[in-house]
């Protein structure tokens, strides 16, 4: 067996062209796989981060009878703020609590009018849970000013310093008009928010709505990955509201994320297939080219199973070392994407919106699992790819191998 391995190694090292070709294919496949996989992991992470920081918090509470079909209905408003806050705040894992109010309104610029969503946020506590400031692309959050989605601003021809004219019904069904200066532009990864949302002080909204009710309470905990557990704990004690973790809520946004993920997986799958076909192909060619050599080996008394092992060993060595090379290249490439990142802001402007909750510079993240998965897959694929042709050769009569015309 030692001799067989030596022969395999010599075959690989001394058939440079073929080896380099197979190596390139494998290395390319592995490198691209790693880059894509890390990038998708990064997108996922940032998408969820953005979702949590902008939209859901770690845990969100809404009206017990929250109506998903009419999310902005005044029927969804809650009132027992004090009681609920008390129940929340007694837990150690709670790091911040805030409430927001959402309502539907009409924005008018004298020419067009558009439906918008007003989000009233608590200017003293919102930052304990959300990171609204992170999503402001221009201007500042101000006490009496509004933060308006970039696309909405564009559509309505508004810029910082302009006045936004809004009309909506208060809780009594009376029409109310509100004129508010725009002091900041919002650029979130959520295209809907960019197109429809306008943020302002919750006090202004509540005053104009003639209520002190709110739509939701959002909680930040000590660990977002325990959110499911925390949501359960809170739900047990708080019967006044429907408690959901960001994970559960993310399914509401998940269509976008999961199609993106499916596309990503598909690309990875295709890359794998290409690399594997490449390996099979080179090994097939090598076996075809080597029929006479194989016949000679058999004539010299090499056992059929040793002949097979020779080729499987070649496949194994190429697959294993090739994937290691790929991992090195992939790691180097990923260093760039992880520490430098890809600037999606300019890309997204060109492509329109991708529908993902992404914003700004996109950074890949290390996917440690990939190192094992890739080494295993590439090696297994190479062994698999060489086994079948090798088996075929193994079953051939020596004379049939030798007869091949030159």
């Amino acid at each position: 067996m030692k001799y067989i391995l030596q022969l395999a190694l010599k075959n690989i090292l001394r058939s440079k062209r073929r080896t380099i070709l197979t190596f390139m294919m494998l290395t390319f496949g592995v490198t691209v796989y790693m880059i894509m996989s890390s990038l998708y992991a990064g997108i996922d992470e940032v998408s969820f981060d953005n979702l949590v920081q902008f939209e859901t918090g770690h845990v969100k509470m809404r009206h017990v009878n929250f109506d998903e079909d009419r999310p902005f209905s005044t029927d969804n408003l809650m009132t027992q703020k004090k009681e609920i806050y008390e129940k929340i705040k007694k837990h150690n894992f709670v790091k911040g609590v805030t409430d927001r109010i959402n309502l539907l309104a009409e924005m008018d610029n004298g020419i067009d009018s558009m439906p918008v969503v007003i989000v009233g946020y608590d200017q003293s506590t919102d930052k304990d849970v959300f990171e609204l400031a992170k999503f402001i692309s221009k201007g500042k959050m101000e006490k009496d000013g509004a933060i308006i989605g970039v696309d909405l601003a564009k559509d309505m021809g508004l810029d910082i310093g302009d006045i936004a004219n809004l009309t909506f019904r208060d809780v009594n069904g009376m029409y109310t008009a509100l004129d508010i200066p725009v002091t900041a532009l919002l650029y979130s990864g959520d295209p809907m928010a960019n197109k429809m949302k306008i943020f302002m002080n919750i006090e202004i909204v509540q005053k104009n709505m003639d209520t002190d009710a709110f739509s939701e309470i959002a909680v930040k905990t000590d660990n977002m990955y325990n959110a499911n557990k925390y949501a359960e704990i809170l739900q047990k004690e708080i019967s006044e509201a429907d408690v959901k973790s960001w994970k559960t809520l993310s399914y509401e946004f998940a269509n976008v994320v999961s199609t993106k993920k499916k596309a990503g997986n598909f690309i990875l799958f295709v890359i794998l297939i290409i690399a594997m076909v490449g390996i099979i192909n080179t090994i097939l060619i090598s076996i075809y080219e080597k029929r006479r050599e194989i016949g000679t080996l058999k004539a010299m008394g090499m056992l059929d199973k040793e002949v097979r092992n020779l080729f499987v060993a070649e496949g194994f060595i190429i697959g294993f070392t090739g994937s290691l090379f790929g991992l090195v290249f992939g790691t180097i490439a990923n260093l760039y994407f992880i520490y430098h990142g890809l600037d999606f802001t300019s890309m997204m402007d060109q492509m329109g919106n991708m529908g993902a909750s992404m914003v700004g510079v996109m950074k890949s993240v290390w996917v440690i699992k990939d190192y094992f998965v890739i080494t295993f897959l590439a090696t297994a694929a190479s062994i698999f790819a060489s086994y079948y042709p090798a088996k075929k050769v193994m079953d051939m009569q020596p004379v049939d191998c030798l007869r091949t015309v030159q």
Partner: protein, 227 residues
């Protein structure tokens, strides 16, 4: 008697077509002989050598090596028979281009796994000097001329001192002068070292060197002659 072939028949089946390539072959080879199969192309020389060398199977009859019938052996057993008893020389040399001359020559010994690398190296050097290729051990086959390559093949076939060396038209790819020198080398080894050769040829110059000659026509032995 080293080798005895008795009423050997071989039929090729290709699809529905059947072709009888060997008909009732009887022959014998004694130790130290330099035996040739002569005959025109298509007469069945290669088929016969392949059957004797256990590279192919005959249909009926028997092939006795030291009195043991090879026709009844299993495929794996045949591989061992080849490994331990036969050396092969091919018309197309069949050297391994990625291996050096020394690595090519040592291969049969490596497969036998009986000797240390030092012993093997020593044998390889001796063998290469016998075939006139000292100093070529680290070259690659493709850097050598056809005649030199066939000498390497002779060295490779001989290195394990097999009972029988089977050579199918060893000179057919060489010009007559080079071919003659290769046969000269084989003959020398036969005379000086007592190596038994069994080879095929359709070259009359080569036939003349044989100590025993079987003339084959249409898969049958038509005549045999002994010097």
């Amino acid at each position: 008697m080293l080798l005895e072939v008795k009423s050997l028949n071989k039929t090729y089946h290709t699809g529905i077509v059947e072709f009888t390539a060997l008909k009732n072959i009887n022959l014998s080879v004694e130790k130290g002989e330099f035996t040739a199969f002569a005959g025109p192309s298509g007469s069945g020389k290669t088929t016969l050598l392949n059957c004797i060398g256990c590279l192919d199977r005959g249909e009926s009859g028997s092939i006795l090596l030291d009195g043991v019938d090879l026709m009844t052996k299993k495929t794996v057993e045949l591989a061992h028979v080849r490994k331990e008893n036969f050396g092969f020389i091919f018309q197309t040399y069949n050297l391994f281009p990625v291996l050096t001359i020394a690595e090519n020559v040592e291969m049969p010994l490596k497969l036998l796994q009986k000797e240390s690398q030092e012993e093997i190296n020593e044998k390889v050097m001796k063998m290469l000097s016998k075939v006139g290729l000292s100093g070529y051990e680290n070259r690659r086959p493709l850097e050598l001329s056809g005649g030199q390559q066939q000498r390497v093949a002779v060295a490779r076939a001989l290195i394990k001192k097999p009972k029988l060396i089977l050579a199918d038209e060893p000179t057919a790819n060489l010009d007559s002068k080079t071919g003659e020198s290769v046969v000269e080398l084989m003959k020398e080894l036969n005379v000086n070292e007592g190596v038994t050769f069994l080879f095929s040829t359709h070259d009359s110059m080569v036939m003349k060197r044989a100590s025993k000659l079987y003339e084959i026509h249409d898969g049958q032995i038509k005549a045999s002659r002994k010097k």
